[in-house]
């Protein structure tokens, strides 16, 4: 079995997002970057499956060499090798085109991603890749069990939860509690140093997109109402047609 895990690299969830002087880019100064939290769940479950089935586990990232240290961390956690497509990730559609191009003749049995990246929150890369490669697709997946050549999944749907079975090849967008996040061992960190990060060139996607403006959300009103006067909240909410 061959498994691919796709990771995004995103500002730490506690980061305050500000813009640089051009007002079109996120100011990356002072921001700690992390592997997307949902992608981390996908990777953690993939590592468990690898340990159980001796599968080959490949990690893929679309992005610059700035992400190499985090890719190395995925290798330390247990991935066998990594691939980095060397282009800035601008948009979910573009990222999906790059992943499809890379994966189309690699015959992965299972591709695992996060249910969404926490920067663009599109939740769409896995669906695009699944349809691009004609794989079965499920997201968000909360439980995953292997059953011979079938997968038994617990998924979230628009109206609740469902238990389903699917066949390989499949692409899954993952979320908790599919697995517990893992911490690299000392031995993992040592062996990761010799593992390969293959860098491949991008295809560039087929439509033009550029950033025209970036705006950080406006501040909230921050009006305080004294506790003695709490009932007046109801009048305010009514007058604003909020209730």
């Amino acid at each position: 079995m061959k498994i691919l895990v796709c990771i995004s690299v995103v500002p730490d969830t506690t980061s305050k997002i500000t813009l640089d002087s051009t007002n079109t880019r996120i100011n990356s100064e002072g921001i700690t970057f992390i592997v997307g939290p949902y992608d981390d769940y996908a990777l953690s479950r993939a590592i468990e499956i690898k340990e159980q089935t001796q599968a080959e586990l490949v990690v893929l990232h679309v992005g610059s060499s700035d992400s190499d240290a985090l890719i190395r961390k995925c290798l330390a956690l247990g991935a066998d090798r990594a691939v980095r497509i060397d282009t800035a990730a601008l948009d979910s559609y573009q990222v999906a085109q790059e992943i499809i191009h890379y994966a189309k003749d690699q015959s992965f049995d299972l591709i695992m991603m996060g249910k969404e990246s926490i920067d663009y929150n599109s939740g769409i890369v896995h669906a695009l890749v699944a349809h691009g490669l004609s794989y079965n697709h499920f997201s968000p997946v909360m439980h995953l069990e292997l059953d011979a050549n079938k997968l038994i999944l617990e998924i979230e749907t628009d109206s609740g939860k469902s238990k389903v079975s699917t066949t390989l090849p499949a692409i899954l967008g993952c979320q908790e509690p599919i697995a517990e996040w893992k911490i690299p061992s000392m031995r993992g960190i040592m062996t990761a140093r010799t593992k390969e990060i293959a860098v491949i060139s991008p295809i560039h996607s087929n439509f033009e997109q550029h950033i025209a403006a970036h705006v950080v959300e406006t501040e909230r009103l921050q009006k305080m109402i004294s506790a003695e006067d709490a009932e007046s909240l109801i009048d305010i909410l009514k007058s604003e047609n909020l209730i």
């Binding site: 969830t13 559609y93 769409i124 669906a127 349809h131 109206s159 609740g160 403006a213 109801i234």
Partner: protein, 318 residues
């Protein structure tokens, strides 16, 4: 310039509020951009007067789904229909089902799919799509120089309408999706809450400040009175005080209601990540230093066990 397709969401034949707003937006968009007409796609039968208040609708197409919708083969019949209709643009309000269909259309038709759109504008050589990013902490406006695209709207989208006359009777059609041999449903666990959290226009959230699951009665009563869904912080669901699907935040459900009332929740950044998209936020907390107050439109420093019953009384007395 050709047609616009709009996917709508409905329950028991009632079109959801966000889909109605999207149809309003679509009618105006059509006029502003010289498109021909709107094809509306949905997953339920609709009575002929469902579309009375919207203009320029050419047809309603009811998509029937015999099984799961998780691979290309199943969706192929829909693609055939769409190809015949000369559709340039596709609009929908984000949902798991339509996300999957839209991704298939984007791949099959080689057109870009832009997620979490909150605003749309025509510019001289293309379109400007503004999307919500970082869970609502920022927005990003991108320009695409392509006449065809799919826009997945975030529930909090805004638009300016130009008023329009309604359609009278519109024609209807049915398309059946394929059956799925590879993917099988084993069991469904429908949501138990009265109002599904992701769709709710009003949400009452409660955190560890409530101390014990037996104290949730007041939260539920208030929610019921407001027609709101209930939500909770992550520790509350981790402690099994409330079901996991009620937990909002970075690792839980993301909500974008018109009103979010957060009670006894500190306002940790991971919680805010799930609620930033709310139009207005009310915070009730007995600690004046609670970080949530900085992210509130209206704040009350007070004990939830005192304030909530009084709010409920006031609501009932109206």
């Amino acid at each position: 310039m050709k047609n616009l397709a709009v996917f709508i969401d409905s329950k028991n034949g009632q079109i959801s509020e966000s889909s109605k707003r999207l149809l309003d937006l679509s009618s105006s968009w059509l006029v502003q951009n010289g498109l021909e007409g709107i094809y509306v796609y949905g997953f339920e039968e609709q009575s002929s007067d469902s579309f009375n208040s919207f203009s320029s609708i050419k047809q309603y197409i009811h998509i029937t789904i015999p099984g799961l919708v998780n691979n290309n083969q199943v969706i192929a019949p829909l693609l055939e229909d769409i190809k015949q209709k000369e559709i340039d643009q596709f609009f929908y309000v984000k949902s798991l089902l339509v996300d999957s269909i839209a991704a298939f259309l984007a791949e099959s038709l080689s057109i870009p799919l832009v997620s979490n759109v909150i605003k749309l504008a025509k510019v001289s050589d293309g379109y400007q799509l503004t999307k919500s990013i970082f869970s609502g902490k920022a927005t990003l406006t991108t320009e695409i120089n392509n006449n065809s695209f799919i826009a997945a709207f975030n529930k909090s989208f805004t638009f300016e309408t130009t008023s329009q006359a309604g359609n009278l009777a519109i024609s209807q059609a049915v398309i059946a999706l394929g059956t799925d041999a590879q993917n099988k449903l084993i069991e469904n666990y429908p949501l138990t809450g009265a109002i599904p959290l992701p769709d709710a226009a009003i949400v009452v959230g409660a955190g560890r400040g409530f101390n014990d699951p037996s104290n949730w009665g007041i939260v539920e009563d208030l929610a019921k009175e407001l027609g709101a869904a209930t939500a909770c912080s992550k520790p509350v669901s981790d402690l099994n005080w409330r079901p996991h699907h009620e937990h909002v935040g970075q690792t839980g459900v993301k909500i974008a209601p018109k009103l979010y009332i957060a009670c006894g929740i500190s306002g940790a950044i991971q919680h805010l990540a799930g609620v930033n998209g709310s139009r207005k936020i009310v915070v009730i907390n007995n600690d004046p230093e609670a970080p949530f107050f900085k992210h509130a439109d209206y704040g009350i420093v007070g004990d939830v066990f005192d304030v909530l019953p009084r709010l409920l009384n006031k609501l009932k007395s109206h």
